[in-house]
Every structure is written in structure tokens, then in C-alpha cells.
Amino acid sequence: MPLGSVVLAFVVGAVIVAVTGGNPFGAYGALICGGFGIACNGENPALQVSNTIVFIIPLITTGVAVALPFRANLFNIGAEGQLIAGSIACTAIGIKFSGLPTPILLPMVLVGGMVAGALWAGVAGVLKATVGAHEVVTTIMMNYIAQWLLRYLIIGGPLQLGPGTSKSQPIGPGARLATILPADNSLIIFGLPASVYRVHTGLLIAIAAAAVFAFLLWRTSLGYEIRAVGQSQKAARYAGVSVRRTIIVTMLIAGAFSGLAGAVQIAGVDHNLTDKYFSDTTGFDAIAVALLGLGSGVGIVLAAILFGALHAGGQVMQADAGISSNLVLILQALILFSIAANFVGAIRQRIPGLAGRPTAMPPELPPSAPLMSEAAEPPPA
């Protein structure tokens, strides 16, 4: 069904392009080339694939950070703030201990990022569990606080590189994740210098995060508790689950994933904090990834691939076909509409012969119904 929704979204998108005077075939040709390296017209396919993977990595990890709380009926809008907190911690540690070797420093910065992200999300979790403050409000507030803290730190604050800059020192070499191919300008691979392929070992971390998510949710007692709280807090309580504890733990874990995403981005790609994190939207795209991924580990990876490819492809589409990359946002929205509303199912029902096929939402979908009702009630003391 998600596949049908994607196709439907692309059809509607093509109509929008055509109506506004563009050529949808040219646009999609460039989009597919930029996203997947397929059907390219002169562009280097390996470069396109590599760029897409770099976008996919943080989407997987933050996607998990949104999907896990969803299962406990918690809506984590704060993945972005948690990601920023993680990247700040990673950078601060990576600068402070820049002399340490990789085997010591790399785990330090990654764990540091996870702890910072967990603390950031933990504020929302604790407030939810103790006084019942709605996590949507608190995570939005924590997003803004993270953004301003970041800006303070790199403009005039302790992490600023120097006067007149808006970025930090680079982290030490020991804090960096290696790229898969050597970062060598003189080595030519697939016709381009090897250093243009920026895929880094953070990919393995992201895939591991998705696997941990699936394992945690379905194979551990904590996962059972999370799902139980998500189904019904009342029932979970009767079953002896501590709702309060589960809410806090869920948010801590989710924050750790987001923080990890931020740390991996610094360690694998950026190597320093810059103003770009002020306009970063990874944590918000993650919401779409989590929803499209139907809350399963494999689904999240596939959804991240789609959204990463759209992001990378959109830029190439504007360069090559002259269609504004904002079309990609329209496509993302259409995909979400289409999946959420099960338009494809509705269309099928109208077509004789296809009616009767199952059109219901798959059981994998996170329990969307009481997303904002019961979950807001504080558990009894």
C-alpha cells in the first residue's frame, strides 16, 4: 500500500508541474537520477547514490527516535532539539579531548551525544510523567531552547572558533568516523576523486539503530511495556506496568537515538558545529519517516531511503531540469496524505473487480487513535 501511495503522489505532483508549465518527465528523470543514480544523463551515478546515503543516515536514526515514543502514544516533536543537543555534546567533547586516539575518543563523543539527547528528551518525559505536561508543548520548547543555546555557543559563546565566525573549532581527528572510501583527492574511483564519496561508517550505526529498535520493541519486556502503555494506560496499569517509568524511559531512549544522530552527523560529515543546525529539518522529516515506516525497523529504513533520495534528487532536479526543488516538499506532503488517508484503498474500492480486496490500515501502523487524549492524563501517584 505505501508503494501505491508513493505512485499516486508522483502522479499528482506531475499534474502540478504540468499545470504550472513545466515538463514532468524531465523533472522526474532528474529527480530519479539525483536520488538513485538511475537513468542519469551525464551525471555520475555513484556520486548520486553516495549523496543520497549521506542524507539517509540521520533520517533512519531520528526516525527511530520518533517511532519508538509513538508506540507508547507519545508524540516526540523534539527529535530536532535532541539532535542538536547531541551534536553540541559531540563537538564539545571532540574539541576538549582532541588529542585522544580514535578507540577512546570516538566512543566518548558518540556516547556523549546520546547522553545529551537523552537528557534533552528526558525533560519532556519527566514533566509528562510527574505533572502531566503535554510532551508536544515541552518538546517544541526544548527545540527552541536547543537552537538558541547552539547559536549562543558558536556566536560569542565558549565554542566559537574565533571573532567574527559562526562556527566551532573542528573536532579532533580521533573523534571522526571514517568514510567508507579513502578521503583522497588524487585517487580516482568511478571517474571522480574518491573524496567526493562521503558515505561514512555512521551508516552501520544507523542500520544498527533500526535493528535495536525492532528488537527492543518486539523482543524485550520493555518493548512490551511501551506497547502496553501505548494501547491503554489504564490496562497497562492493571497489568502491573509502571506507566510513569515507561514514559520516562521511552523518552530517554528516543532522545539517545536523536542525540546519536546528531553526534554521527558531526563525527561523520561536518566535523564542526555550524549555523546550519539552525535551519536543519532532519528531526521534523523524521516524523514523516516514522509514520511512513509504519513503525517497523525495516519500514523506517525504507522510508528514510525514499525521503533521503527525494532530498538529494530535488537538488539535482533544480539544477538539471530547472524545476524548483520545493516540488520535493509537495511530493512528501502528498505521500503522507495518501498513506494516511489510504486514498489508494479508496480508489480500489471504486474500481469493479478490485473491490473486496483488503483496504484497511495494516496492523503495523502506530496506534494513532488516542494519540492526544488518554496519554495526557498523569498517572496516579
Partner: protein, 316 residues
């Protein structure tokens, strides 16, 4: 300490509160829309997108029609159109209302810039001339009152409209039959249905109302406060309005108080040329205050019981 005394000194100036009220109204309108929508049982986090769409079409229409009132109408219709999409998807197709809301926000961000590229060919959108903006109005006599006169009665026309809408929303929701029905649909849709209330109609109406209000706010932003459209100019106000709505426990006046807190933070920040503290730390202030208030004073917010639940006839 100087920073603190600077702020305390500011707090007694009418100028600060005048700016606060205007900034609060930009948040209040979408927040009121959110209250109405969620009271009827439809979760609405799409105010940001509806507001952005309204801002864009307000400028497009004002440049074409040279009339701010018509342009405001167009903006409200544009907001309502986006709201209708949310309504159809979440009521008729029973989609996840949060997904739909997020989709609206992404859609609006993409569509507005995409259309600028298409309509204006990468050039500037253009500027609305001063005489074709939503005007500031000084209420005769009242504007001479000490303090209050400047704070309340020397404002943009939309500020007065918003204050009227605030009272109106409160009265309609809590003192009329219609309000009772809206709340009934949001709390116990099946009981309401049994009692002969058209659940779908009420919900469609409520969601579209939120679109009209958010579109109005967008128009105020684009052709009242500013005179042009800049991509993403709403700058997260829809999300702040969402927070204000929850903070205010789904009541119009509660939301208004929350909007005032955020707006006060913004207005204090605007005086950063005379406050001696890092402007970035100052920017955190309203968000920190909100967290503290939530933690200590306000605590839990309980939404309408059926908020977010698609209504399937015959089931609760």
C-alpha cells in the same frame, strides 16, 4: 543585575505592552482556530501551513486587486481551503490527524515557494504600497487613556478583530447551543450522534473555521505587519500557537494568556539594543518560562476526550 533592571524598567512602559499585544494576536488567531477544531475532536497541528498559505495569498491578492480587505478575504479562503483538505482527509478518510497536519505544513512550505518561482520567475514577490495595507486605527477618545490607551487602542485593525473573535469564540463555545454541540462532538461523538447532532458537519465547520482564522493571521502578518511575502515568514508561529492552545487547556482565554507570555518574550527580546545580556540567551527566555510554568503551575492539560479519534458511525 543590569540586565534584570533593564527588563524591569521595560515592563512598566506602554510601548512594550503595545508591541506584546500585536505579537500575541499573530499567535492568538491560529490558537483560537486550534481550540475550535480540537474541541470538535479533530487534532489540528496544521495552523503553521494554513497561516503561511494565507500570508502568501494575501500578498498575491493585494498586489493584484489593490484592496487589503479583499486580499484578507482571499487569504482566509486560502487558509480555509488548506483546512478543508485536512478536514476531508481526517474526517472523510479517517486519516491520522497528526500525519495529515504535518503533511499540510510541508505542503504549504513547498507550494508557496514553488508558486513564487512559477509566478514571479525568481524575482521578488513585490511590495504592497502603504495605502493598501491593513491599517492601524486609533480608537477616538479611548486612545488618549493613560497607558491602556496606547496598549490597546492604538493598534492594527486586525488586533481589534482578534480581540472580538476571542470573546466571541469563548461565548460561542461555552454559552450557546452550537458550542454545546461542538463540545459534545469532541467529547462523546456517539452520544451526540444519537442525540441527532450531525457529527461530520460540526467537525467540518470547526476545522474550516480554524483555516479561516489561521489565514487571517497570515494576512495580518504579510500585509499588516509586513508588506511583502518572504519564504517561510511565519517562522514557526503555528507551532507556538499549538503550544499556546495546549498550555491554555483548550480554552480561548487560556490560550490568549499563553500567547501573551510568548509575545512578551519576543517584545522584551526586541529591546536587545538596551539589555545587557547575550541576545541568544535572551531569546530562550519565553521557552524557558513556558517550561517552568508548565512544570510548576499549570501542569496537566486534558484534551477533549475524542480529540484525534475519527468518528465511525455506530462506534465510540
Amino acid at each position: 543585575m543590569t540586565a534584570l533592571s533593564d527588563i524591569l524598567h521595560l515592563l512598566v512602559t506602554a510601548n512594550l505592552w503595545q508591541a506584546t499585544l500585536a505579537a500575541a494576536v499573530l499567535l492568538l488567531l491560529p490558537a483560537l482556530g486550534g481550540v475550535v477544531s480540537e474541541r470538535s475532536g479533530v487534532v489540528n497541528i496544521a495552523m503553521e501551513g494554513m497561516m503561511l498559505t494565507g500570508a502568501f495569498f494575501a500578498v498575491v491578492a493585494d498586489l493584484a486587486l489593490h484592496n487589503p480587505w479583499l486580499a484578507t478575504g482571499v487569504a482566509m479562503l486560502a487558509g480555509a481551503l488548506m483546512a478543508s483538505v485536512h478536514a476531508i482527509v481526517s474526517i472523510r478518510f479517517r486519516a491520522d490527524q497528526i500525519v495529515s497536519g504535518i503533511a499540510i505544513n510541508i505542503f504549504a512550505a513547498g507550494l508557496t515557494v514553488f508558486l513564487i518561482n512559477r509566478i514571479y520567475g525568481l524575482q521578488d514577490v513585490g511590495h504592497v504600497t502603504q495605502s493598501e495595507l491593513l491599517p492601524d486605527i486609533k480608537v477616538p477618545a479611548l486612545d488618549q487613556l493613560p497607558f491602556i490607551g496606547q496598549v490597546v487602542f492604538q493598534q492594527n485593525v486586525i488586533v481589534y478583530v482578534a480581540l472580538v473573535l476571542l470573546v466571541l469564540t469563548h461565548v460561542v463555545l461555552f454559552q450557546t447551543r452550537l458550542g454545546l454541540r461542538i463540545r459534545a462532538v469532541g467529547e462523546h461523538p456517539m452520544a451526540a450522534d444519537t442525540a441527532g447532532i450531525n457529527v461530520y458537519l460540526i467537525r467540518y465547520g470547526a476545522v474550516i473555521t480554524s483555516g479561516l482564522l489561521s489565514g487571517l493571521s497570515g494576512a495580518f502578518l504579510a500585509i499588516g505587519v509586513a508588506n511583502t511575502f518572504v519564504p517561510n515568514m511565519t517562522d514557526g508561529r503555528g507551532y507556538i500557537a499549538l503550544a499556546a492552545m495546549i498550555f491554555g487547556k483548550w480554552t480561548p482565554f487560556g490560550a490568549f494568556i499563553a500567547c501573551l507570555i510568548f509575545a512578551l518574550g519576543e517584545a522584551i527580546y526586541a529591546n536587545n539594543s538596551i539589555i545587557h545580556i547575550s541576545q541568544y540567551l535572551l531569546s530562550m527566555l519565553p521557552y524557558l518560562i513556558t517550561l517552568i510554568v508548565l512544570a510548576g503551575l499549570v501542569g496537566r492539560s486534558i484534551p477533549p476526550a475524542a480529540d484525534g479519534l475519527p468518528y465511525v458511525p455506530g462506534s465510540e
